[in-house]
Amino acid sequence: MAHFTKATSVKDWLNQRLAIEKVEKVMASEYWIPKNINFLWAMGMVLVITFVLLLVSGIFLLMYYQPSVGMAFDSVNYTIMREVGFGWLWRHVHGVAASVVFLIIYIHMFTGIYYGSYKKGREMIWISGMLLFIAFSTEAFSGYMLPWGQMSYWAGMVITNLFSGGSLHADGLVEWIRGDYVPAQAFLTRFFMLHVLLVPIAIMGLIGLHFAALRIPHVNNQDGDEIDFEAESKKYLDGDKAGSKVMRFANDFMSKDMMVVGVYLVFFFYLVFYNYGFAMDPVNFDPADGLKTPAHIYPEWYFLWSYEILRPFNIDLGLALFGFAQVIFVFLPFLDRSPNSVPASRRGAFKYWFWGMLIVMIVLTAMGKLPPEGMFSTIGLVAAIIFIAMWIALPIITSLEKKL
């Protein structure tokens, strides 16, 4: 049996039973962060805060939302927006956070790509991050259904139809996913379940995995330095804080994270109070109608780039390329054949690849929002082909890169 002594304080009492000092060391005071990293590394913490905002506002929305096809629309647009005290606040926080969280995820992702943070022992950080992206996409889509407006209904119709696999014509699978011939009650209730229970649990598990994946290889840094974390942390603990290349996560590095979070929250609540409209599609303020399609259907801005890859081709090729675009980022650590995990600016052709990819995705996003006519669909087609070609070219150009 373990040996216990009489506790000298509450902390000591807990420490003997919960090892809180050890936990504190592992999680905070002896979790080592390189010093040479910029504000872009704070996006992880920004995401954590945004996720908490989503969770809290979601809990308050959940208490008045009615997951029934007859009542869902009014429970959101009347009960929550007009009757529930500060209901509008929870809805706007939830809506704005759902949109902004993708902006931050994309910044977080492209920071990782720019600095090569997915390579050399950090593959699991990248892969768990991409799994999180998929989980967040599912969460966003299932949440988009819940107000049961026109865009909700037709997005549900179009996205579930993707599962028919084009010429495979797997209508049985689509009907199974919907629980009906069209999106209806069964569909709404099961997406409600996914949105409030199953996917959030998966997200929390994946966040745990994402953090765990970070602990052993540690975060990368702005210069791609290979830091000996053991030696550097020893230096720090021995008192040479200035000479050490690393610092504690808490409370030293946290202060910088929190500074960025503070600036972000000002921006976030500016959006919530003055510009919440961008996260609310006007079409979704019409109740769902299965017999009338809105004139122009488009997803939320964060899915536009992949939607545009689906659009210009025939259904089978479009679906195949859409699938390609969805999963290809997961394989980035293995497609990048260069051993250099330094900023893109110090690498060879990858520098152009990085900025090219960013531009192509912005072009795809813009074209995805515009109607599929004339010039726009031609630009969309060209951008989609360039996107695919760039991914095929990536292993070639990176294997030609010389080692720095």
Binding site: M157, V158, N161, W176, D180, A186, G290, L291, I315, D316
Partner: protein, 174 residues
Amino acid sequence: MESNSRRGFMGKAFGAVAAVGAVGSLVAMKSSWDPLPSVKAAGFTTLDMSTYEENELITEKWRGKPIFVLKKTAAMVASQTDAQKERDVVVDGMHFMLAIGLCTHLGCIPAYKGEKDGFLCACHGGQFDWAGAVTKVPPPRGFDIPPFKIDGNKLVLGEAGPEYTKMKETGITL
């Protein structure tokens, strides 16, 4: 050694029991997501075909889906190609276009722009003629025809009559 093989046996036996349980629960989970019997039972609609006006598109509802019914004019019938004729539903001598009004691409409802321009899907730019065949991709095929049974001048949607079965066999609809 002996105890190792005993543990190995217990491990395998547990694995077998767990596998049976896992398969069983997967079957239950699959079934729980199937459309409910009440949903399936509500999947029949009867249309009175004598009430339609010529060249006026009427949208009916069957299984929550829009059903296009277009009574063709004599001129339309006369101008039809063989392929278009095969898609006709003839009730009591009247020719109809009958179709599930969802674009076969991703399921939006195309709008009817009249005899000349046919149906236009705003979502992804697909077009169909007034017989329901594709005239501009991305839709992979013409409108699907719902299962129907002709009963005098009535049409029962959701039940496959001989005319529908023939269309299915000849590949006119899926």
